[in-house]
Structure formats: structure tokens, C-alpha cells
Amino acid sequence: MHTAHRRRGLTAVALAGAAGLVLAGCTSGGAGGGGDADCSDYEQYGTFDNASVEVYATIIDVEADQLVESWADFEECTGITIDYVGTQEAETQINVRVAAGDAPDIMIVPQPGLLQRLIGDGAVVPASAEVEANVDEFWSESWKGYGSVDGTFYAAPLMASVKGYIWYSPADFEENGYEVPETWDDLVALTEEMADNNDSQTYRPWCVGFGSGDATGWPGTDWIEDLVLRMHGPEAYDQWVAGELPFSSPEIQEAFDAAGEILLNPDFVNGGFGGVESINSTTFQDAGLAILDGNCSLHHQASFYEAQWGEDVEVAEDGDVWAFITPKVDADAGDSVTGGGEFVAAFTDNEETDAVQQYLSSDTWANIRVGLGGVISANNGVDPSVAGSEIGAQSMEILQGEDTVFRFDGSDLMPAAVGTSSFWTGIVDWVGGDSTSSVTARIDASYPR
């Protein structure tokens, strides 16, 4: 239950509820129909009598409603009933259910680390050739890799998000003559400029919130991951995630210190909330909203933060708020981003389950679901313009881009003892004043033997 993903997935709700449904009407319009669905897209899955498939996931609220809606036509045309069970405890309960022989037919696994462990325990059924063909066609090699173990392919990716956006107010930038920075150094320089211009007691250039209930600390791991990838490149990033490059290595400590230049400087944080120590207690949902009050100018959070702005706020390049991707460190290096996503793992080996898996890995489903709003997909078969928002479209272009290096959120790939535990608490301690060296040493020590 300790995963950042659970929280992250949940946040897309507000937007989804408001804008998403409206947009669904003008973009895809495929789902949610009554008895007059066009079944030609679904013939390939066959028809079934009285078949039902349980889909288990951490997704709840409006996001879950949209998910259920996204397969309404599929259910009607194939005769398969999909019983959706969404609970925030799913990541913990799946272990119990698997151990007790009570596994669901399908689980939407929100992080590769858990997926790999379930596969390692022999609980997951390998994906069929048709599912694999879909994934080969629509996804990049690295996405397929997260769903595979030892060359066997198990789970197709589902939805995705892009990490490392820095949110800002275009009006604020224009008024003060700020430029969107090209490199990390520019970003730090911009921050300094903002701090120099500041004459308010409550304003700081950045507003930061790492608070997230029992998952507090995870937004901080995104900062470190972004910096490791940009400072030391994808190879070092992969080694770090695989546990070969320890946290206490100079590379990772450097990334902590670079983030610390901003996060631990009381002149730079925490606009609208207080000093450095307020980072841990400010919830990640609330933190960025200080931009709207003019209490800060910059907020680092993934694409799904769009949902937090509320209905009255226009998210666009010339709107109330907009975002740029955390800039690269080396101006000559290629673009790289981190992101997250979900995977569809099957625990039952039968035809109806396979049909659902095939459908969820298809471009048909991805177009319908993205069209409903609130989420994006890395599925190449989806036209980014289908996405319900500009930021969604931009994120999908980044995900589908040929020359952007994409890396999965590192903490989701690490063993649970680190990725959803000591890394988070390490961040909390670090923000609380512990040194980089002691925090990184402690995280290293928590690696399972």
C-alpha cells in the first residue's frame, strides 16, 4: 500500500470529472454508449456467454468511473462482464489474495517493482501472443521491458504520466521578464533572480510539498530521479535503480546536493507555506496552488498535477498556469524525462481474461480512455490531440517522441524496502536537516539482502 503511485493516480480526479467528460463528447465519443454500440471494433475478441472477469486496482473515484466507462462497449459487444474492484489497499491486499489462492483475474499493477515481485512468485500468467503483438506495435522497447522478466512478456502497459514538469504562471513570467530556462544552471539563476526581486514576507520562488499521508516524501524522490537522469545520463540511472550504483556514491550524492541548492535554501522555499521545514507537512496537492496567490513562481510536479488547479484555472501556454519540463543539466545532451505508468497483469489463464487483456493493450481502448480525459498513454496508436488537455497532448508527444530518453520512475522500480520506504523517509529526514551523506548511507543500509 505504500506506493506513491496510489496517490499519484488518484489526483487526476478533479480534472477528469470536469473537463474530461465534456471533451469526451467532442473527441472520441466511443464509450459510455447505451445499447447501440458499434461492435465492429470488437469482433476480434469473440463473444462469450455469461463470462465475467474481475479487474482489481488501486484506482478509485472519478478515475475509476472513467475506467469502467471505457470498457462499456467492449462488455456489451463481447458479452464479458468486467467486475471492477477498486481499493487503495489493493497493492497490499494482492499479496494476501495471491497467497490465499484468491487472486483476481486481472490486476492493474501501479508500479513495476510490485509487478516484478508478483511475477517472481510465479503468480502472474504470461501474456498471450496477441497481447504481445499489440505491445510490440504500440509501445517502445523500454515499456515492454518493464512488463517482462527473463525474456518472457507478462504485462502490457496501460496508462502513463510524465514526471518532472515545473509549473509556473505565464503572466507572472511576462510581468517580471522571466524566461523559461534552458538548462539547470539557468533554472538556479532564475531562482536567484526571483529571490532578489522578492520584497514580500511570504513569497519564495518555489513552493514545495512532500506531504502525502503515509507516503510522505515521494514527491522528493522525483526531484532526485530527475536530477540523476539529467546529470549522469540513462546508464548511471539504470545502474542506480538496479541497486548497482549505491545512494552513497558521489553521483547520487551530487544529485541530492543539486536538489538541495533549491530545496534546502530558506530564501528559495517555501512560498506561501513557511520555511524549509514546512515542505514535509505541506501536502503535494496543496503546494502548487500558492502560484495562484502569487506566493511563489515555480512548482515541480508531474503532468497529473493539472487536475489540482481546479475548474476556473486555465492550463495553457497563454493561460493561467503552464509547465515546462525540468531542464537538462548539460546543454548539449539530448532530452530526457522520467515518468510512471500502470501494467495489466493476469492471474487467470482463460479466454475471457485474455480478451480483456488484449482489449486493454489495444489502440482502441487507449483512444477511448485518453479521450475521456484526465490521463495519458504512451500507446503510439493514440493521437496526442485526443488528450483532453494541452498538457496531456504535450506529455504524450514527449512519451511518443523518438529522441527523448524515457526512464521509469526509479522509486517504483526499486525494492519496496527502499522505493516505497527508506527512500521516502530518507527524503523526509534530509529535508528535516540530516546530511546528504548520512541519509544516503541509511538508504543503502535498508536494501534487502
Binding site: R6, R7, L10, T11, Y56, I60, D61, V62, A64, D65, L67, V68, E69, D83, Y84, V85, G86, T87, Q88, E89, A90, Q93, V96, R97, A99, A100, G101, D102, G211, S212, G213, D214, T283, F284, Q285, D286
Partner: protein, 315 residues
């Protein structure tokens, strides 16, 4: 029999009435005076009562405040920032989607879970408690002590084996009966222990008299023991009902987490897990979950104490 009962019995005896009646009011008045005149005791009582009440009272006030005020200021500023609304309650009770239910549905689930999960162990435990108290059989004491000791088994560890049985042999995982049976099992050790304490205190002559009249164990149980054990039964019923209603762990595992079976606590924990965003819904949701146990509790609390006191008052 407890000492007060004895005193009361003495009080009723006509021979002693004058003397006792004279004595008791004096003693009572004396004691009351002492407590009330002690400033420290009064102050202590007030401090404790206030500290214990404020958290709940504060949340109660908060639950009626508009969302932006809940986020912006404390409930104690209610008079500076006046605001009163039922919106939070209306929202949590009725808001729902295609995949989730509103709080009312979870409320119903809680009731459907709690009633059988209270009655089943009550019936089974009273039968067993009678046997341990009044039927002589080998190892009866040892088995009884074993049952008592089962209270130490952390129920987290019993979850998987039970779920195995429910999903394998019985095929009922994720349904109400699974939750009922699980709660029944986990409630039995305490139930048998409490009811045994009470039932074994029923005077032997009463049981003997029934036996002499030719009653068998069933007749004795239903005609003599059950009516006499009412306070203990009520006491355990309250205990178990509160426990089941307030339980999170058992429900989490055996209800399967679906909206058709999951109880209020589970929904509440989910709202609480997304604390920041649900700040304005939580107080109202918490109060809805508290109402039923409070009613049960206050309407039956005198039984609660009497039942629990059995077996603990004698020296």
C-alpha cells in the same frame, strides 16, 4: 454476588431497615461532600473531562463548516469566521460514481456485516460457556484456559489461512458470509471467557434444582441460564458490535474491498489516505461512522459494565 448487591439485600430486610437506612444516607452524604469540597478533585475531573471532550467536539463543529473555512482556519475561530452548512454531510452521503458508492451504501454494508457478526459468536459462545461452567467433562479446565489464551494470536496471522479456506473449500471470499464467519471466530475467545465468568457465578443450587426437576442440559440452558445471563450477553453484544463496526483489518481482507460488501471504516480509511484532498469531507464522514456505535453504546451501557464486572469483583 458483589458487595453492593449484598448491601442492597441487607437494606431490603425489614429487621435491619432502620439501622441501615440511617447509616447509609449519612455515609453517602459524607463521601459526596468530601469529594466535592476537594478543590483538587474537582479541578482534576474538569480538566480530564475537557481534554477528553475537546477533540470530538472540535471535529463535530468542523464537520458543519464550509470547505474553504475548514482548510483556512481552526474551529475555535467559528465566531470570527461564521459559517454553517450541511454540504459536507450531503456530499459524503450522496456523492457516488460508476465504480464507487456513496457513504450511505457503506453504512448499509456496515449494518449487514455487524448484526450477524455480533449474534453468531454470541450464540455459539453462550453454548460453549455453559458447557465449560456446568457440564463436567475431561480436560474441561485445560481446554477453557486454552481458549482464553487464544486471545494472544495476532489476527493478522490468521488472515491468510482463513482466506484460503474461504476462497478454496467454501468459495465465499468477498461476500458477507466470509466477513461474518471471520468475525465470529475472532470474537469467540473473549466471548467464551466473559460469558463463562458470568454463567459460572449463577448459584449452583439454582442449576441443581432444575436438574432435580428433570431438566436436561438444553432445558436448563434455555430456561435458567440464558435469562439469568442477560446482562453478560448484552455486555458482550455491545463489545462485539463495537469491535465489528469499528474494525478495519478483517473487513479489508474478507470483504475483498468491493463496494458491495466493504464497510464504512474501509471507506473512511481511504478518504483519510487522501487526507489533503478530503480534508473537508473527513469530519462529516467520521461522524456518520460514529453515530451508530454511540447510540448502541449509550442505550446499553449499564449492561456493558455489569457483564464485564463478573468474575473481577471478588477478592
Amino acid at each position: 454476588m458483589s458487595a453492593t448487591d449484598a448491601a442492597e439485600a441487607a437494606l431490603d430486610s425489614p429487621l435491619n431497615s432502620k439501622k441501615v437506612r440511617r447509616q447509609r444516607p449519612e455515609g453517602k452524604a459524607d463521601r459526596a461532600k468530601k469529594v466535592l469540597t476537594s478543590k483538587w478533585a474537582t479541578a482534576g475531573a474538569i480538566i480530564i473531562a475537557v481534554i477528553w471532550t475537546i477533540p470530538t467536539a472540535g471535529l463535530f463543529i468542523t464537520s458543519f463548516r464550509p470547505a474553504d473555512q475548514i482548510k483556512g482556519s481552526g474551529w475555535w475561530t467559528i465566531f470570527q469566521n461564521w459559517g454553517f452548512t450541511f454540504d459536507n454531510y450531503a456530499e459524503v452521503l450522496t456523492a457516488q460514481g460508476a465504480s464507487s458508492a456513496n457513504l450511505s451504501s457503506y453504512f448499509i454494508n456496515s449494518i449487514v456485516v455487524a448484526v450477524p457478526a455480533t449474534l453468531f459468536p454470541l450464540v455459539l459462545a453462550s453454548l460453549a460457556a455453559y458447557a465449560f461452567a456446568w457440564i463436567k467433562f475431561r480436560f474441561s479446565a485445560a481446554i477453557f484456559i486454552g481458549v482464553f489464551a487464544l486471545q494472544i494470536v495476532p489476527l493478522q496471522m490468521a488472515l491468510i489461512p482463513l482466506l484460503q479456506i474461504f476462497s478454496g473449500a467454501l468459495g465465499i471470499s468477498g461476500t458477507f458470509p466470509a466477513v461474518w464467519i471471520a468475525h465470529t471466530i475472532f470474537g469467540l475467545p473473549l466471548a467464551i471467557f466473559l460469558l463463562h465468568n458470568f454463567i459460572s457465578e449463577i448459584p449452583g443450587d439454582v442449576i441443581e434444582a432444575a436438574r432435580v426437576d428433570g431438566a436436561n442440559h438444553f432445558q436448563t440452558f434455555f430456561r435458567i441460564v440464558l435469562p439469568l445471563a442477560m446482562p453478560a450477553l448484552a455486555s458482550f453484544a455491545i463489545f462485539q458490535f463495537l469491535w465489528v463496526w469499528n474494525d478495519l483489518l478483517v473487513a479489508l481482507v474478507f470483504s475483498g474491498g468491493g463496494v458491495d460488501v466493504a464497510p464504512l471504516t474501509q471507506r473512511l480509511a481511504e478518504l483519510s489516505g487522501n487526507y489533503g484532498r478530503n480534508l473537508h469531507r473527513l469530519p462529516a464522514a467520521a461522524f456518520i461512522s460514529i453515530i451508530v456505535p454511540l447510540i448502541v453504546f449509550f442505550s446499553l451501557q449499564r449492561y456493558f459494565v455489569r457483564g464485564l464486572m463478573a468474575g473481577s469483583t471478588k477478592g
